[in-house]
């Protein structure tokens, strides 16, 4: 086995190259064909360069949003799996995404306004929603002392999702017709984003979340062996768990507030990544973030082009891929 340094370098270079490729290629595809050469043609000023304008103004925001959302949900999924010691724990299966969606819905429908130090209301409400949902599931898990069995965890997640979705529907029912139309698409998980605005609003949250993620890999490795083992190896388990919960909620909240509860990314991506890099979270976390970005960019590309000119909500694509994948994992896990 190669030393960790080498393996980390290889993982970052390979998945980073995939991401760069996806970022450059995805905006080229669309109703108006453009070429990468002309986009970066320095001889034409930006104001006259139609290709560059389409690339950077019309299409890139959506691709960047897909990348950030994919990275956030995938990394959060990897964190949840280690924290709850369960390979089926993800933002969706735990009901955390539904919590985030409910928070955001409340803020949108009732025009809440409680921006804190410049951060806008909707992402904050979304973060609060995910933190609450996670708090309930986590209290269940630690209340049972030994962590949750897969069955209990999934039942808790299904119950949370059902409960929170009902609340979300209730709020929708109260809202007026146009707002409902907008939120229905958003709840399916869609990336209909035409500017950098939404990205910039959640950027501070994402920076904090990923900064915290960076301190977590080794404690998560050890926590996956059990809290006893982790504490005995020198992990401050209470602190590590707290920062894992907060950072994963921040990432989920930020992602859901832009793109809605796009499902299954947090499940599919970490598992795919582990096939290539193994289980060490120092490799799994950065690789999941990078590959999650690539994965959602590609899914969104399919959503935009498969039935062109109709654009599908990307959540449909990820669910179509993720559902069967989840069932396959479930049959493996229950063996």
């Amino acid at each position: 086995m190669q030393p960790i340094r080498t393996r980390l370098a290889i993982a970052v270079v390979v998945f980073g190259a995939l991401l760069l490729g996806a970022l450059a290629f995805a905006p080229l595809v669309g109703s108006t064909p453009i070429s990468l050469a002309r986009v970066f043609d320095r001889s034409v000023p930006f104001a006259d360069n139609l290709d560059a304008q389409i690339f950077f103004i019309a299409r890139l925001p959506r691709v960047v949003a897909a990348a950030l959302i994919g990275a956030s949900l995938a990394a959060a999924g990897a964190v949840f799996q280690a924290l709850l010691r369960n390979p089926l724990a993800t933002p969706d299966t735990l009901g955390v995404s539904s919590g985030a969606a409910l928070g955001a819905m409340l803020a949108i429908t009732f025009h809440l306004d409680f921006s804190v130090s410049g951060l806008p209301t909707i992402p904050l409400a979304s973060f609060a929603g995910s933190l609450c949902a996670l708090g309930v599931v986590y209290a269940l898990a630690t209340g049972r002392r030994r962590g949750l069995s897969t069955t209990v965890l999934l039942l808790a997640g299904v119950t949370m999702t059902g409960f929170l979705s009902a609340l979300t529907l209730f709020i929708q029912y109260l809202a007026d017709f146009t707002a409902t139309f907008r939120t229905v698409r958003w709840l399916m998980g869609s990336l209909d984003i035409g500017s950098y605005g939404p990205i910039l609003t959640v950027l501070p949250m994402l920076i904090v979340a990923f900064g915290m993620f960076a301190t977590l890999p080794r404690p998560l490795d050890l926590i996956s062996l059990g809290a006893d083992a982790a504490a005995a190896r020198g992990v401050n388990v209470a602190r590590a768990e707290r920062s894992a919960l907060i950072s994963a909620s921040l990432a989920t909240g930020a992602a859901v507030s832009i793109g809605g509860p796009i499902s299954f990314i947090g499940l599919v991506v970490p598992h795919l990544v582990r096939l290539f890099v193994g289980s060490d979270h120092r490799l799994v976390l950065p690789s999941s973030a990078l590959f999650g970005a690539v994965f959602l960019i590609v899914c969104d590309l399919v959503a935009r082009t498969a039935f062109a000119p109709i654009e599908l909500p990307v959540g449909i694509i990820t669910a179509v891929i993720g559902g069967p994948f989840f069932l396959w994992l479930l049959t493996r896990a229950s063996r």
Binding site: M1, P3, I4, R5, L8, Q81, A82, R85, N86, P87, Y138, T142, R145, R146, A214, T215, R218, D221, L222, S224, L225, G226, A227, D228, A229, A231, A232, R233, G234, V235, N236, V237, A238, R239, E241, R242, R274, G278, S279, D280, R282
Partner: protein
């Protein structure tokens, strides 16, 4: 070296604390996942000298695991103090403690496919900074730990595919990779068949004799304690029934008092240690 002075502990207190952090909650659970609110320690004194091999003996629920965790500074005693070389553990960070004391839990499992080497390298955690990666020196230490525990042959195998005895040896290797001065083991041979029991027993004796590792282990296996430990601490309902050299402490009387069992305790010339044969309920 390590000293527990007048240490008391109750779980009710710990459950209250557990709400502030899951660490305590996971730590305070009894083996097997049952909660034991009666699992308390009362005014326990214990002294471990460098190079010693001490066994904590007692029936289920007598507080063995709790005492080990207090000795490892996993949680602080309700009253009394645990000191390492005269310094109370209460003031140390987890990381500082882990550089000197390693703890081997009764069972270790993970939902992920870590390799044996992965698991052993995790022992280097307390010696590395937050963002530091293991270097060649850490790898060399891990490999030595694998050698010492006879697990070098399967360093590339998935931990989850190993047998119980192999797993236990790998976890001991991981603890050794911490470069500790003191090794605490919670029922190291529970749930192992006798083949694997002997395997782990031989390993521990060799680490203590050749490697100079100071050890404290808990067990309810009287013969393991007799074979392995130089000194015994007998725990019953959270207080120390007797403590001293194994030959002095392990008698039919103490066995009867601990387990309500009549037993014959005799020197076995071929085994070279005391053996305990239970005869019947007293």
């Amino acid at each position: 070296m390590l000293r527990a002075a007048d240490v008391s502990f109750t779980y009710r207190r710990a459950t209250g604390r557990a709400r502030t952090g899951a660490m305590e909650s996971a730590m305070t659970q009894a083996p097997g996942g049952r909660e034991r609110h009666d699992d308390v320690l009362k005014h326990v004194f214990l002294e471990v000298d460098r190079g010693d091999l001490v066994g904590i003996l007692g029936p289920n629920g007598s507080g063995k695991t709790t005492l080990l965790k207090l000795l490892g500074g996993v949680f602080p005693p309700a009253s009394g103090s645990v000191t390492l070389d005269g310094r109370p553990l209460a003031g140390w960070s987890r990381r500082e403690i882990a550089r000197r004391i390693a703890f081997v839990p009764q069972e270790t499992s993970t939902p992920f496919d870590f390799t044996v080497l992965d698991i052993v390298l995790m022992g280097r955690f307390p010696h590395l900074g937050t963002f530091a990666l293991e270097g060649p020196e850490d790898l060399a230490i891990a490999r030595r730990a694998l050698e010492a525990t006879g697990t070098a042959a399967f360093e590339g195998r998935a931990f989850s595919t190993l047998s119980g005895g192999e797993k236990q040896r790998v976890v001991v290797a991981s603890a050794l990779a911490q470069s500790p001065e003191l090794l605490l083991l919670d029922e190291p041979t529970a749930s192992l068949d006798i083949g694997h029991q002997i395997e782990v027993q031989t390993l521990l004796r060799r680490l203590n004799a050749d490697g100079g590792v100071t050890m404290v282990l808990s067990t309810h296996d009287l013969n393991l304690a007799a074979a392995l430990c130089r000194r015994l601490v007998l725990l019953k309902d959270g207080h120390v029934l007797a403590t001293g050299r194994t030959e002095d402490v392990l008698t039919p009387d103490t066995v009867r008092e601990l387990y309500h069992v009549n037993a014959e305790v005799a020197w076995h010339p071929r085994a070279g240690h005391l053996t305990v044969v239970p005869i019947g309920r007293s």
